[in-house]
Amino acid sequence: MSERIWGIVADSFPKMLTYGLTVTLPLAAASFLLALIIAVLVALIQYGNVPVLRRICRFYIWLIRGTPLLVQLYLVYYGLPKAGIYFDKLLAAWLVLGFNEGAYMAETMRGALESVSQGQMEAGYCVGLNFVQIMTHIVLPQAFRTAFPALSNSLISMVKETSLAATIAVEEMFRQAQIINGRVYESLALYTEVALIYLLFCTILTWLQRLCEKHLARRGGAIK
């Protein structure tokens, strides 16, 4: 490789990494948090069979899972302004990523909630706990434990999916690669570079995930 390319890579690396650390990862974390809150609420509503809300949740899941993330992003950022609803681009990215992943994670959480035996809930009532106490002390902790691998995978997906925000001009890591490439025309080197940074992020997260799993297993496992 030529010295020019090495120079470009060396120049762009700190810049991309900075955007990765200050935009990509925080956006992924914030979207994941939003998704988690949505997922838990939606899963609880379905688990508790709350009349009207239950149907709204099914509709939400159907809608999200049946449309591409990219289309959702365009619809919210470019489409909604036509209806007089404007979002800042970062806000749009956060909302779309959160609501999108939330639908998938809701299904994960619902499965995890349902995997906790009904008998434990009855035992909870019999020792004088109420529904909320049973959920917070018994059912939810076990559901989170069951869902942990799937939820961590969602977080890792989220890190990669934030790159789609580049299409609505959010200044994140991939957008930086595009901008720099627009100046120097070294797409192979720059996109390889940015891919390696995503790979680094995801590898570290996978490693953390495994560490947590080991810790959880040591705490009694608790899952049959």
């Binding site: 008998g119 035992a123 020792v127 706990l129």
Partner: protein, 246 residues
Amino acid sequence: MILSAHNIRKRFADLDVLKGIDLEMQQGDVVAILGPSGSGKTTLLRCLNFLERADEGILTMDGADIDLHRATHREIVRVRRKTAFVFQNYNLFQNKTVLQNVTLGLTVGARMRRDEAEATALEMLRKVGMADRLKHYPSQLSGGQQQRVAIARALATKPEIIYFDEPTSALDPELIGEVLSVMRDLAVEGMTMLVVTHEMDFARNVSSSILFMDGGEVIERAPSRQFFEQPREARSQEFIRSILQR
């Protein structure tokens, strides 16, 4: 009288499971409920504790009448505070240790202080011989050990009566004894117990009387010895003959 129930009825769809059950328990009674599979034994216990909502029936505890069909949330809580339930498959909280399984109802449910709750839990776990496994999780225990923890959990809430639904049916034969011996100790101490069981030894030698059910009805209620030696009803006689043949 510690408990009496009158005319408990329950249907599932078009199946009449309980057809008007009457029941009376005195302080210290140990009553074994016997009967063929599907006769409604489990459903009866579940209705008494509101795990199942009866279609009809009056429960009287401590002089207060409670409509089993229309009971309010408050009444249900009051009844459950006086009773405890031991399940066939233990139903221990899988994410809690042995000690936490017993204290949870006290600290969270009854808002007891932690040290007080732990002292109570320890006392109960000692009673069932599980005080040396406080930090274990249910998945690390044998079935018999889990059921003994479940009994300690039931005792910890200081119930006036404990319902047992086939507490030894899920156990390997060699583990049944340890659970039955705990239950025998409780009976000797004067604990009031209503026990659905297939253990004829327990029914004959530990329980004070038998409630024999068939087809959603109480066919016969008699002192244990009398039930086994001189059953009054034809269906009781048939039942006893069938278990002797096994």
